[in-house]
């Protein structure tokens, strides 16, 4: 009987929360993590390259302040134990050391992360591959460091799609669909055409891309396998089709079709190419994009007289478009943050300039995040912490990015104009 009573008491405790101390944390630091990165040991040329890639990857996230290389101290070890006191005096939170082993046609990066406050190693890891994957391996290492310190999955090893336009001496344009690492390096040409290419979009598995090409004279959506280069038009219809967006399960494409006299949103089932019309409105409806769980789509519509963002709930039988942007007279090209808590979009401010803005679902105001003049087509990184978008500088289009944690960066300029970036999903 007594035993039963004890049991009942134990069962009641968690339900009532009885006796549980409840503490409130109200203050936190907004400073970035201070990290000292010792140049990795190994072949000096390889090591330098790896160090530069990692340093840039980490700085771009906005979460770290990396100690200048000139200020680094020699790493002292006593009995295989790091001497932490020097680094504590420098005010560091973390120390990263590593070694690159390049032999027998394989390349290994071994790295260690030390927590200066806890005075111990918090990660010891190894990435390996072949020597010509050196950039990839460096990005993997960056992601390992980022994850280990912030607890968030890193995006250094993800990739970007964008469109490159180069004019020759007779001012005739050549358009290229490009694939590159998240830092803009390691560019590859997926398609080259004399006619415009627009709106590239990633399949969720990162193996295929969809885009709009004008090669037949009108806008047509193509799907192309990255590895093989094999491509096909998704619909043989003789109508303009644009702005493809892949559903998160990879089974559907949302598209804009002009077959009804004006632009309407359709969903295409890839298995049998069945089309389902989603909007029916005299105004233009376009730029659809899927929610991370695939149950909603966002699109831009002019039905209120100015471009605004609308949301369709696909779980409903005859979904009604719900307007979700209200500030100003131009809001367009929206995409969801990874957990659907908000949207990133292009917003025209009162000064008439176009900026990238963020609106959280539960807030009734928007946050303008960029300050150039003609910011356009934002694409959100899969961890939701970074956005890449197009800017215009000295009459030239190029790519820039920012992290929600505050870092801003420009991608190294390719020749000519670069625009319409699309950020891939996680690729590992």
């Amino acid at each position: 009987m007594k035993k039963n009573l004890v049991l009942v008491a134990l069962l009641l405790v968690p339900v009532m929360g009885y006796g549980e101390l409840f503490l409130e944390i109200t203050k936190g630091s907004e400073d970035p993590y201070k990290v000292a990165m010792i140049p990795f040991e190994g072949n000096s040329k390889v090591s330098k390259q790896v160090n530069n890639i990692m340093r840039n990857d980490l700085i771009r996230t906005g979460e770290f302040s990396i100690l200048d290389e000139e200020l680094l101290l020699p790493v002292k070890m006593i009995d295989d134990e790091l001497v932490f006191s020097d680094w504590k005096l420098l005010g560091m939170d973390y120390l990263v050391t590593g070694k690159i082993v390049n032999e027998n046609n394989s390349l290994d990066i071994n790295y260690e992360i030390y927590d200066i406050h806890k005075k111990r190693k918090v990660r010891s890891s190894k990435v390996f591959g072949i020597p010509n994957q050196i950039r990839q391996l460096a990005h993997y290492t960056s992601d390992g460091i980022y994850e280990s310190i912030t607890g968030i999955k890193g995006i250094a090893a993800t990739r970007l799609l964008y469109v490159n336009e180069i004019k020759d001496s007779q001012l005739i344009s050549r358009y290229k669909l490009m694939l590159a690492d998240s830092d803009g390096a390691n560019e590859k040409i997926l398609l080259s055409s004399s006619e415009p290419i627009i709106s590239p979009s990633w399949s969720p598995d990162g193996k295929r891309v969809a885009y709009v090409s004008f090669e037949t004279g009108i806008a047509k959506v193509f799907i192309q396998e990255i590895a093989s280069g094999k491509r096909e038009a998704v619909l043989s219809k003789d109508t303009q089709i644009s702005s493809p967006s892949w559903s998160p399960d990879g089974k559907y494409l949302s598209l804009t079709l002009y077959q009804d006299g004006n632009a309407e949103i359709y969903i295409l089932r890839l298995r049998d190419r069945t089309l389902t019309r989603m909007t029916n409105q005299f105004a233009i409806d376009t730029e659809s994009s899927w929610s991370p769980r695939g149950n909603k789509i966002l699109f831009t519509s002019g039905r209120s007289g100015s471009p605004q963002i609308y949301e369709l709930d696909l779980r409903k039988l005859n979904p009604k478009a719900k307007r979700i942007s209200f500030e100003g007279t131009y809001n367009a090209k929206a995409s969801y943050l990874p957990n659907e808590e908000g949207i990133i979009f292009v917003h025209r401010s009162n000064d008439g300039l176009f900026h990238i803005a963020l609106k959280y679902k539960k807030e009734n105001f928007i946050r303008v995040l960029t300050e150039a003049k003609m910011d356009e087509s934002p694409s959100v990184a899969p961890n939701g912490n970074m956005v890449i978008y197009g800017i215009r500088e000295e009459n030239l289009s190029m790519l820039a990015g920012f992290s929600l944690s505050g870092a801003k960066f420009k991608l190294p300029a390719s020749n000519g104009e670069v625009r319409e970036p699309a950020w891939s999903n996680f690729l590992r």
Partner: protein, 211 residues
């Protein structure tokens, strides 16, 4: 009627025995102590609670000692807090319940006060430790609150952290979990008395609420 007569006899006999016993216990037959029924000398009292703790033992002798100081002969009384406060005295059977009760209540008040103070001191230490480890993300929605439940070993090591209320923002939730991960161990836990740890600090809930 015969039966009733016997009962009366038996009850009379029983009454006599009980009366004698009562008088004996009361001290009527004891010529030495019968005149000293009032408490003529201070008593040193040791309070022993059902869950003896080192702290209580340390504290209790101080107060009564002050009263006892001028008297040579002091007696040690042991009081049990449970059920019917049983009083044992070596020298006499003086009835001192009222004074014991006073002392007891006073003692438990002091004890409770001291304990609350101790709890809030350790709670503050926990808060400061976590606040120092927490990197609050930027550009997050207003009014986010994330609640965690921590399971903490008596060594201070955080054995488990569970998100019991998500803020809805991945980065915010993550920063809270990461702060706890960065703390890993509360170094001051070994100074928390065992009973206090058992009662208050094994499982705690913390709320990250910057607004």
């Amino acid at each position: 009627m015969i039966a009733n007569h016997r009962y009366l006899q038996a009850s009379l006999f029983s009454f006599c025995i009980h009366a004698a016993l009562f008088l004996y216990i009361y001290g009527t037959f004891d010529s030495n102590t019968s005149q000293k029924l009032l408490i003529s000398q201070p008593l040193q009292i040791e309070l022993r609670f059902d869950l003896p703790s080192p702290d209580i033992k340390k504290q209790t002798p101080t107060a009564p000692k002050a009263i006892a100081a001028p008297v040579e002969k002091t007696s040690q009384n042991i009081v049990y807090s449970k059920a019917t406060d049983v009083i044992q005295t070596k020298q006499n059977n003086a009835l001192i319940e009222s004074s014991i009760a006073n002392l007891l209540s006073e003692e438990s008040e002091i004890e409770a006060d001291r304990e609350n103070q101790e709890i809030s001191m350790y709670a503050q230490k926990i808060i400061t430790t976590i606040e120092n480890a927490w990197m609050k993300p930027k550009n997050i929605p207003k009014d986010l609150v994330a609640n965690l439940r921590l399971k903490i070993r008596s060594s201070g090591r955080i054995a488990g952290a569970e998100l019991i209320k998500s803020s809805g923002n991945i980065r915010f939730d993550n920063s809270a979990l990461q702060a706890v991960r960065r703390v890993e161990t509360f170094s001051f836990f070994n100074s928390i008395p065992k009973n206090l740890y058992d009662r208050e600090f094994q499982i705690i809930a913390i709320s990250f609420n910057p607004s």
